[in-house]
C-alpha cells in the first residue's frame, strides 16, 4: 500500500439510494492530448439490474470501452472522469479513492479483457494468475487459492489438471475460458466483458457465449457486454445501449432496439449486419466518417452523416426521449413522446 492511500472508511458507508445494481448518471470522461481534450464519453447514463445483461455497442471510437473503464476507474493517465456519478450497490464509485476502488475491483466488479493472449501474463502459470486475486482479496494460502482455481477451471470447461499450464500451452478458446475463470475468482456481482469473443473463430465464439449465458444463470451475475458486433449483442443481452461519438443515441431492451429501432444511426447500423436466416441482400454502409472528438460538432453528433436531418439538428443537442416505456431515443425526430 502506498503512503498516499487513505484507508477505507472505518464506519459503514452511507448507502446511496439509486436504481438497479449499477447506475451510471451523466458520465463524462475526457482524455487530455497536447491539442486539447478529447470528449470520449459525454453525458452517458444507463442502469443495470441484478442478474441482467446489458450490451454497450457502437463502432470503434464511440466510447464504449472508455465508459466501461470509467466504471472501474482504470483509465489511462491522461483520462479523467469530468462529471457524472457511477453508483454501484449503494456506493458512489466516482468519489472513491484509489484504495477504495481496489476493494471493489475484482471483488465486486471484474472484467474479461479482449485478446486473452495479451491480457494473460505469458511467464506465469495460468492457474496462479487465477489464484492471485483470491489470495489478495480473501487472504487464502496459495494452495487453497489454487484449489479454488481448479474448481473455476472445471466451471468454465477446462480440465482442472491444466491449472499449471502456461498461457501458450492453451488454445485461444481455452485462454478466453481462463480469462472468464479469472473474472469469476472472487464471486463478483458484476462482470464486464470487453469484446470477449472478438478474435475467436465463430464456433469458439458460440462456445464462449454459451458458457457466459450458463454462468449468468447459475451465478445470477450481472453482465455488461462491450461489442462492436450488434448480432452478438442481440443474441446475448436483455438490454442494449447504442453509442455514437461518445454519446448514447438509443437505449432499451434488445427487442426495442432490433425490432423497433428509431434513431437513424441505430437503424443504419443494424442494416450493416447480415442476417443469414433472412433474404439475401447487400449490407448497407453509413456514409462519411465519425466526427473528431477534439472539437465535437454542436448539435447532434450524427447530424453531418444523417439522411433525415431536420432544422435544428446542427445546432441543438437532442435530449433523450422515452418513446415507449424503457425505450429512449436521442433524436430531434422524436421530440414529442406519444
Amino acid at each position: 500500500m502506498s503512503a498516499t492511500a487513505t484507508p477505507a472508511p472505518a464506519k459503514t458507508e452511507e448507502r446511496i439510494e439509486h436504481k438497479g445494481l449499477l447506475e451510471v448518471r451523466g458520465l463524462c470522461t475526457y482524455f487530455k492530448l497536447s491539442q486539447g481534450w478529447v470528449h470520449a464519453v459525454e453525458d452517458v447514463s444507463f442502469t443495470i439490474e441484478k442478474g441482467e445483461s446489458l450490451g454497450l455497442a457502437g463502432e470503434s471510437g464511440c466510447g464504449k470501452t472508455t465508459a466501461a473503464l470509467s466504471i472501474l476507474k482504470l483509465l489511462p493517465e491522461n483520462g479523467r472522469i469530468v462529471s457524472g456519478d457511477i453508483l454501484f450497490d449503494g456506493r458512489n464509485l466516482t468519489k472513491r479513492t484509489e484504495y477504495g476502488m481496489s476493494k471493489i475491483r475484482w471483488k465486486e466488479i471484474s472484467m474479461i479483457f479482449q485478446g486473452a493472449m495479451n491480457a494473460l501474463n505469458p511467464v506465469q502459470e495460468t492457474g496462479k494468475q487465477v489464484a492471485e486475486p483470491i489470495m489478495l482479496h480473501e487472504g487464502l494460502s496459495e494452495a487453497k487459492a489454487l484449489d479454488r482455481a481448479r474448481e473455476l477451471f472445471e466451471l468454465v470447461g477446462i480440465n482442472p489438471k491444466r491449472v499449471m499450464d502456461y498461457p501458450h500451452q492453451l488454445s485461444g478458446g481455452m485462454r478466453q475460458r481462463a480469462m472468464i475463470a479469472m473474472s469469476l475468482a472472487c464471486n463478483p456481482k458484476l462482470v464486464i466483458g470487453d469484446e470477449p469473443t472478438t478474435a475467436l473463430d465463430v464456433m469458439v465464439q458460440a462456445q464462449i457465449l454459451d458458457l457466459i449465458a450458463r454462468l449468468r444463470r447459475e451465478l445470477d451475475l450481472s453482465f455488461i457486454l462491450i461489442s462492436h458486433d450488434l448480432s452478438v449483442m442481440a443474441e446475448t443481452c436483455d438490454k442494449g445501449v447504442i453509442m455514437y461519438a461518445g454519446r448514447v443515441v438509443e437505449s432499451g431492451t434488445t427487442e426495442h432496439l432490433f425490432r423497433d429501432a428509431r434513431h437513424p444511426y441505430t437503424r443504419q447500423l443494424i442494416r450493416a449486419f447480415p442476417n443469414i436466416h433472412e433474404r439475401r441482400e447487400m449490407v448497407s454502409s453509413i456514409k462519411g466518417d465519425p466526427p473528431n472528438l477534439l472539437e465535437p460538432p454542436p448539435g447532434c453528433r450524427f447530424a453531418p452523416r444523417c439522411d433525415e436531418r431536420i432544422a435544428g439538428c446542427d445546432e441543438v443537442d437532442p435530449a433523450a426521449v422515452e418513446v415507449t416505456p424503457g425505450h429512449f431515443v436521442s433524436c430531434h425526430l422524436f421530440k414529442e413522446a406519444t
Binding site: V202, A272, I276, H277, R280
Partner: protein
C-alpha cells in the same frame, strides 16, 4: 499444439527460388494422367495464348500442401518417421471466370494456404492447379512473373501490407514499373489514376501524393485493391480483406469487390472465416474443414440447404441481429484437431453430432446433391 503453430507461422517469403518441378516433397508423377497439357515447362508464349475454356479459369485437382515438421536430431534417430502438417489435403474445385468464390472455414482449415498455392506463393506437394488449362507448377520463372500480373493478392491487414514511406501514387505505380508495363510517364499516371478511381478513392488526384498514415483503414484497403487492379488482373485472391475493418467500412469494401467483379470482370477468390459475409457477396461457397472441402455449391443453395453436418453447425451459430430469432444453435464441442495426426475416416467425425460407426473408417467422397452442390459425407450416399 505444435501443429497449430506450424499452420499459423508466417509462410516463407514468396520470391524465393522455386524449382520448377517442385521440391523434394513433390510426389507427383512427371507426366500426370488426365491433364490436357502435354508439354514440359510452360513458357510465356503458352501463357499469352492460353484461353479460358467452358468459363473455368482455375481447375484445382487433388491439391495437397504439406509442411514438414522439423524433428530434433535425436528424435529422428529414435523415430525416423517424417511428419507433416497437412494444411491442404486433396482439394479439388473450379474457379469460374467472373465469379466470387468464397473459401470459408475456421482458422487452420487451409483456406489461406489454398489461396496462396493458387498464386504459387506456396508450393503444392501434390495435385495440380491449372490456370487456363496450364499447370501452374510447371511455370518457368519467367512465366511465373507474367502469371503474377494476371493473378493478384490482397492481404488482411492494410496497415502492414503497404509501405508507409511511399506516396499512394508510388504504391499503386510500383507494380506497373516492376513489370515494365508502361512506356511513358503519362501512361503510368493515367493507369494509376484510373485504378485509384475504380477503387473508390475519388477524386484520385486528391489522394495521389498522400502517405498511408493520412488515410483510414478502409482507405488503405482501397489503396491495396488499386495496387492489385492496376495490372488488369484476371483474378484477385482476397485473404480476409475486411477482417480488421469497422462494420461500415467493411461493407464499403465488400460492395467495391462486387462492383469490380461486375464492371471490370475481375474474378475474386474471397477467403474468409465469416460465412455470413461470404453469403452476402459470393456466387459460390466452398466450406473447408481441416484441409478438406466438405461442401461446395451455389451460395444460396449451400446456405439455405446445407447438407454436411459441419456446414449446418457453422450456419446455426452465426449470430444474427435479431433477439427474437428462434433457431437452434448446434455448438460443436472442442476445437479443430491438430492437422498432423488426423482422425481416421472422415476427419470431422470426432466432433460430428450425426456421426455413425462407419464414419471413423470410411473416408467420404464428394456426393452430388444437385446442380453444382456437392458435400463430402458418407451419410448422404
Amino acid at each position: 499444439m505444435a501443429g497449430d503453430e506450424q499452420l499459423t507461422a508466417p509462410a516463407p517469403s514468396a520470391d524465393r527460388q522455386v524449382p520448377v518441378s517442385g521440391g523434394p516433397l513433390d510426389r507427383r508423377a512427371p507426366t500426370e494422367p488426365g491433364s490436357t497439357y502435354t508439354g514440359g515447362r510452360v513458357s510465356t508464349e503458352d501463357l499469352a495464348t492460353a484461353d479460358v475454356t467452358d468459363g473455368v479459369l482455375f481447375k484445382i485437382r487433388d491439391l495437397e500442401v504439406y509442411f514438414p515438421i522439423h524433428q530434433s536430431f535425436v528424435k529422428s534417430l529414435v523415430a525416423p518417421e517424417k511428419k507433416y502438417v497437412k494444411a491442404v489435403d486433396h482439394v479439388s474445385f473450379d474457379v469460374r471466370q467472373g465469379e466470387i468464390l468464397a473459401l470459408v472455414g475456421e482458422s487452420g482449415c487451409g483456406k489461406t494456404t489454398t489461396g496462396r498455392a493458387m498464386l504459387r506463393l506456396e508450393d503444392a506437394t501434390g495435385g495440380h492447379i491449372y490456370y487456363k488449362e496450364l499447370p501452374v507448377e510447371r511455370f518457368s520463372q519467367k512465366t511465373l512473373r507474367e502469371y503474377r500480373k494476371k493473378a493478384q493478392i490482397i492481404f488482411q491487414d492494410p496497415y502492414n501490407s503497404i509501405n508507409p514511406k511511399q506516396t499512394i501514387f508510388d504504391i499503386v505505380a510500383e507494380p506497373l514499373e516492376v513489370n515494365g508495363l508502361v512506356a511513358t510517364e503519362r501512361e503510368k499516371e493515367e493507369r494509376v489514376v484510373r485504378a485509384i478511381n475504380e477503387a473508390g478513392l475519388r477524386p484520385a488526384e486528391e489522394y495521389l501524393y498522400r502517405y498511408p498514415h493520412e488515410l483510414s483503414g478502409g482507405q488503405r484497403q482501397r489503396v491495396c485493391i488499386a495496387g492489385a487492379t492496376v495490372l488488369d488482373p484476371d483474378v484477385i485472391v482476397a485473404d480476409e480483406p475486411v477482417a480488421s475493418l469497422d462494420v461500415s467500412i467493411r461493407n464499403d469494401i465488400l460492395k467495391l469487390m462486387v462492383e469490380q467483379k461486375e464492371k471490370l470482370g475481375v474474378t475474386y477468390v474471397f477467403i474468409t472465416h465469416d460465412l455470413s459475409l461470404a453469403w452476402v457477396i459470393s456466387d459460390r461457397i466452398a466450406v473447408m474443414y481441416l484441409g478438406r472441402i466438405v461442401e461446395i455449391g451455389d451460395t444460396e443453395e449451400v446456405v439455405s440447404n446445407p447438407k454436411h453436418p459441419y456446414t449446418k453447425a457453422l450456419i446455426s451459430v452465426i449470430p444474427v441481429p435479431d433477439p427474437l430469432a428462434k433457431h437452434e444453435h448446434v455448438i460443436l464441442s472442442g476445437e479443430t484437431p491438430n492437422p498432423v495426426d488426423l482422425p481416421s475416416g472422415c476427419r470431422f467425425h470426432p466432433r460430428c453430432p450425426e456421426a455413425i460407426d462407419a464414419c471413423s473408417e470410411i473416408e467420404p467422397t464428394d456426393v452430388h446433391i444437385g446442380g453444382t452442390h456437392y458435400a463430402a459425407c458418407i451419410r448422404l450416399t
